[in-house]
Structures are given as structure tokens and as C-alpha cells.
Symmetry: C2
Subunit: 230 residues, 2 copies
């Protein structure tokens, strides 16, 4: 049995806000236990780190910002730009996001989401004495399938992939290729309580299977020479 | 708060097995309530529908089967074939799967997973008097990101996309493009209790937000003319 517990009402987060302290208090209040995974939407991380810029409604200005945030452009059509971010993630508009931003501003991706995740984990440990793995999530589209789902863009204390290769299924047959993106599945699960227009910027996921350990979300990026769809 | 409850030990499923009856009994035993979503891995659905074929370890034979199951080939590299299935889903090897199949056999996708989902929903209602939405899941890879995640390939009683366009975020700003693939997020969440090598072919997801109603998983397929990555 898995439980997904919303972390609500941490209040408005601005630059310099001590997000780790606020989250640690909120996580303590909902009764976090060893093994829980803390999922945090990147928006509050970006806001607390000051990754927010002024942006008018001018589409040209938006495009210039997207281009300045992108390492490369993968595809364009109309106002949609599919980009590679500086971290190597492929997503729309280099992560430039005006939802839940103050009018006239846009939220950018955290500069180094894995580092942000490690800092949150360390600070939560300092406050609570609990080593909770941390996942920083964002909402990405995908080719071929309509609709958005949440994925991990930063992680700490959790291996992003669960490698089941070499394990056998219940028929005794060795599983061919079964590397599960467990942090993406946990991020998607957490989004079910976080929603998009609500004030739930974080969640605890209890009872999920994962391997503890060092790991970075950038490990999830398929090497370009193995990728058939760039 | 969301709970994900594993449905275990429904026993071995073969052709003609009354899966709906078995699942309804198991779902009743774990105490399903109104609003729960029943997620079922497609493998048991395919097995109960006889969507299983003989397949040797000969790679040529495997490729012929994949080609016969595919509507079109999207990309090839080495032994990997990215295909469009007859339903329109894009995935590796047209869904031909030897994991958890009897040696010398392969499991195919259900012929019409949306129809399978509707039948399961109707039969569970008949047994329990509960109208539980049903999601039939499969494990797909994706471009750009390593690792597999579970997605919905058949649904009943649940709208596959939650359209938040037109709703406003907490700043009062209208959200631009926020159509959430909620059935994929629920499928991913359920996979956290189902695993790959285990005997957990189904799960109940309790407390997830969704819209009831008619809907088909094929609505998730991005129309080819809007798709930048075919």
C-alpha cells in the first residue's frame, strides 16, 4: 500500500524564502517517517532561488527568453518551441512558465535541480533528523501522447532508475529490458495531489519501492547518440 | 490523500479465465469504495482474451511477429523497432512481450483495450454494484528519457485528459496549456505497487482527482498532423 500525502499551505514563496525550513516544518506536521519520499514542484524551488524574470505578454520577448534559456532548439511549430535545456532535458519552451507566476513575470527552471534537491534533503535532515529522498518535479509534454505528466528534474538520495534486468519474472524467465524510471512514476503519483492551480507545492509518497543512494535526474537523459527522436 | 492498494494473488490467468469475476472478488475483498479507480495490467487482460502466441527465441521470428502486429514502423535500430500499433499507440515492438509469458510464447496487446476496460467495468459493477472506472496499463519507453513508465492503453468510465485550460491559477491568471493526462499519472502511480516481476496484476487507486464519463485511451494519441516527432 502506498500513500500520497499533500503538503499544503506553505504560504507564498519569494526570493530568499527559507523553503527548506518551511518544508521541514510542514513535513514534520504531517508526520513524515523513514522511507517517505518528498516531492516538491520546481516552481517553489525556482521562486525561492530567485529564478524568476520579468516577462511581458509580447510573444517576441517570450521567444527571446526561451532561446536564451535553451541549449538547443529541437523543433518549432507556431508558438511552440521544443528545446533542450541547459541541463539536457527536452521540453517545451525551455521550462519558461507563466502559470502561478506573478503577472508580468515568468518562472525559470532551477539552475541545478539536482543540487537544489540535495540541499533540500540536507536541510530537512538537519531540521527533522530524517533522511528523506527528495524529487523536484516539473510538468512535461511528450511526443505521440496528448496531455502532460509530471516527471523528475532533480533528485537526491534516490536512484532514478530501478534496474530489474537480470531479475527473473515469476515464470523464471530473465526479464529483457526493464529499467523503470521510478522517480518519474513517483513524480506523476505526487502530481495527483498537487494539481496545477492549487496551493499544494509538495507531497510525501509513502511505501513506494526505490533504491536509496546517490543519483542525479540528469541520468534519466537518454544519450543523444542512443536517441532516435532528436 | 491518495492510497494505492495492491490487488494480489488472483492466481494464474489463462485463456477463457473469467478475469472480471476474479478481479471483482479480489476488489471486494480489499474493500473497494465509490470513487476508486481499478488499474489492471494489460498482461492478464491479454491472457484471459487469448492474445498469446507461440514465439521461439529466433530474432527473425520475433521481428516478423512485431511487423505483423504493427500498423507502421516509426524507427528501427538494431533489435529495437519503434512501431505504431493497430490502435495507434507508439511503442517498442508493437507491444509484443515475452516477460511473464510462458516460455516459448509472447503476450500481445488486447485487441481493443478500451472495449476490454468497458467490459471489466460492467462486469465488476454486475458483481459488486460499484461503478469503478477501469484503466488498462502497459509499460512504455519514451524518447529523450531513459527508463520505462506505465501508461493507460484502455480506459472506461473516466475522462483520460483533465482539461484545466480556462481555469485560473491562484494568481488569477488563466492557465495557458494545462491538459493533464490523468489516466497516465494514475497508471504510473499504480505501477509503484504492481512492479514487474511480482504477482500484483492490479491495484485500486483511491482519492485521485478525475472526471467521470465516457472516454477512450485512444483520445490520448496525438493526431499525426500535430505530432512533431513521427
Amino acid at each position: 500500500m502506498i500513500s500520497i500525502i499533500p503538503i499544503e499551505s506553505i504560504g507564498e514563496v519569494g526570493r530568499g524564502h527559507d523553503l527548506a525550513n518551511t518544508l521541514a516544518t510542514a513535513v514534520g506536521e504531517v508526520g513524515a517517517v523513514e522511507g517517505d519520499v518528498l516531492v516538491v514542484t520546481h516552481k517553489v524551488v525556482s521562486k525561492s532561488e530567485g529564478a524568476v524574470v520579468d516577462l511581458s505578454d509580447d510573444p517576441e520577448e517570450h521567444l527571446r527568453l526561451v532561446e536564451s534559456e535553451a541549449k538547443s532548439i529541437i523543433r518549432r511549430r507556431g508558438s511552440l518551441t521544443i528545446t533542450e535545456t541547459r541541463h539536457g532535458f527536452i521540453c517545451a519552451n525551455a521550462g519558461v512558465d507563466r502559470s502561478n507566476a506573478q503577472p508580468g513575470t515568468a518562472i525559470l527552471l532551477p539552475y541545478d535541480p539536482d543540487r537544489s534537491a540535495r540541499r533540500l534533503r540536507d536541510r530537512v535532515y538537519h531540521h527533522l533528523g530524517l533522511e528523506l529522498p527528495v524529487i523536484i518535479s516539473d510538468t512535461f509534454g511528450r511526443p505521440w501522447r496528448r496531455g502532460l505528466t509530471d516527471v523528475a528534474i532533480g533528485v537526491a538520495g534516490i536512484r532514478p532508475l530501478m534496474d530489474l534486468r537480470g531479475e527473473s519474472d515469476h515464470m523464471g524467465r530473465t526479464l529483457d529490458v526493464t529499467e523503470i524510471a521510478v522517480v518519474d512514476e513517483i513524480a506523476a503519483a505526487a502530481d495527483l495531489v498537487m494539481g496545477k492551480s492549487s496551493m499544494v507545492p509538495a507531497a510525501l509518497v509513502r511505501g513506494a519501492p526505490y533504491h536509496q543512494g546517490a543519483g542525479e535526474a540528469t541520468e534519466l537523459i537518454r544519450p543523444p547518440n542512443e536517441d532516435l527522436f532528436r
